[in-house]
């Protein structure tokens, strides 16, 4: 399950930045990948649609989102937590 969430998240990010999944490192930040503010809201939308979750992200308060979505691994963890909460 964990592997599958991770792979699906990486696939979505890869599509957003037009890279191969294999070129995306776990510790890469969104900035490293060249994702700007619009790219981020698009990625958040794609993740919400893919996993049927709601990611509490407000662009005005990125530090106050309950999840760290500044790196690829952070996004994977956030999505895993939200997916787990959904299936409880």
């Amino acid at each position: 399950m964990t592997v599958s969430v991770r792979d699906r998240v990486l696939q979505i990010i890869a599509e957003q930045v037009v890279l191969d999944v294999s070129d995306i490192g776990d510790e890469a930040t969104l900035e490293d990948l060249g994702i700007d503010s619009l790219g981020l809201v698009e990625a958040v939308f794609a993740l919400e649609e893919e996993f049927d979750i709601e990611i509490p992200f407000n662009a005005n308060q990125p530090d106050q989102s309950r999840f760290d979505i500044s790196t690829v691994s952070g996004i994977v963890r956030a999505v895993e937590t939200l997916v787990a909460a959904r299936t409880v």
């Binding site: 700007d36 503010s37 407000n58 662009a59 005005n60 308060q61």
Partner: protein, 402 residues
């Protein structure tokens, strides 16, 4: 070049159904933002807004008129009626031939679109009301205002997102200054508080769920409002000849484009817009006492705008008062600059600066006098009104007391 003055004003917005009530609310620092009352609100994640409350269209319009008027047109007509009544103008046959109306709106008849999309897509019906097109078109409000008062000169609508009404009023100013028209009705109208209108904004992740707190360190985003404000712009000698009460003089206008990003604001663009308005007005920065900020309450706008103001005004930025009345009436998108011009006129005429309410904590990135929470008495002889739209289209007006 001819001088241009304002001789009438009218409004309906979350703070009041007319100018007197609205200005009293601004003076008292009241907030018109509250829970939204609209269909399917439970499917929205954003449930607050600056809605026009206790509004009964049938008190203002006949059944036949209402068949033609989207809510944004109703707002425009109510504001225009008040502005014309207050101006004391009589649009005679001769004056009507040269007078016109320019109104800003971003969404136009969005309520009509929303309702009729439901009819065909959600309810699966195959027939809509026959007047959907003339209700929803962006120029409907301007056209109905022209018909109501017999304005047969230059009339059109301007749609530049959040700068729509500043662009519209700038156009009206230029038309009178150039001698093309002696009198123009101008301002803006917006009615985007419907399910589709808010759902679209939610996606950008810039909306607040709790309040609009421009410049405050704990700000959480923008809050939408609705309504209209309409002004009578008049050539100075024309106004004097008829003994009109002059509310303020419009002395400068500037419009520039960032040509950089479809949503992110640009400091450089904001600086050029404000400097352009000052130059056009022949105003030195130190003459300006008040700036009605665009001040949306988003991180991106507020930081950029404060940096731009600091750059334009230099040392004078420390003495300058800068407030965002969006904290009280919400962001009226295409009508916002028009409602905000009411605060500029109040500053010049009554010496009362409308506050930025909901302000909790200073933000080092917004280290200006933002007139927090309480209105202030101050003598101001010149002011700017900023509007910086999505798409990087900036429009700034300069006003002077007269």
């Amino acid at each position: 070049m001819r001088r241009v003055v304002i001789t009438g004003q009218g409004t309906i917005n979350a703070l009041g159904h007319d100018v007197t009530t609205t200005l009293a609310a601004m003076r008292a620092g009241e907030c018109g933002i509250g829970p939204l009352d609209l269909r399917d609100v439970e499917r929205l994640s954003i449930r607050i807004g600056g809605q026009v409350r206790d509004f009964r269209p049938e008190d203002h319009f006949t059944r036949q008129q209402l068949a033609l008027y989207d809510r944004f047109t109703q707002f425009a007509l109510i504001a225009a009626r008040e502005a014309v009544a207050r101006s004391g103008l009589d649009f005679t046959e001769e004056l009507g031939l040269r007078a016109g109306v320019i109104l800003g709106t971003a969404g136009g008849g969005l309520q009509t679109q929303d309702e009729n999309f439901r009819t065909v897509y959600e309810e699966g019906r195959n027939r809509v009301h026959p007047l959907v097109v003339p209700r929803l078109m962006n120029n409907a409000a301007a056209s109905h205002v022209s018909m109501s008062f017999g304005l047969r000169g230059p009339s059109y609508s301007v749609s530049t997102a959040c700068a729509s009404s500043n662009h519209a009023m700038g156009q009206a100013f230029l038309l009178i200054r150039s001698g093309l028209s002696p009198v123009m009705l101008t301002g803006g109208s917006e009615s985007m508080l419907c399910f589709g209108g808010i759902k679209a904004w939610e996606g950008l992740r810039v909306m607040s769920k709790e309040a609009c707190r421009p410049f405050s360190a704990d700000r959480s985003g923008m809050v939408q409002g609705e309504g209209a404000a309409v002004f009578v712009f008049e050539e100075y000698e024309h106004a004097r000849a008829r003994g009109a009460e002059i509310l303020a003089e419009v002395v400068g206008f500037s419009m520039v484009s960032d040509a950089s990003d479809i949503v992110m604001p640009s400091r450089e663009g904001a600086v050029r817009a404000m400097r352009g308005a000052l130059r056009d007005a022949g105003l030195a920065p130190a003459e300006v006492g008040y700036v009605n900020a665009h001040g949306t309450g988003t991180a991106a706008n507020d930081r950029t705008e404060c940096a731009a103001i600091a750059e334009v005004f230099g040392d004078h930025a420390r003495e300058l008062m800068v407030s965002s009345t969006k904290s009280m009436h919400g962001h009226l998108i295409g009508a916002t600059g028009a409602v905000e011009l009411l605060a500029c006129i109040m500053a010049l005429r009554e010496g009362v600066i409308a506050p930025t309410v909901g302000y909790n904590r200073p933000d080092p990135d917004c280290a200006l006098d933002v007139v927090p929470n309480e209105a202030r008495e101050a003598r101001v002889t010149a002011c700017l009104s900023n509007a910086f739209a999505f798409g990087g289209l900036n429009a700034v007006l300069a006003l002077r007391a007269i």
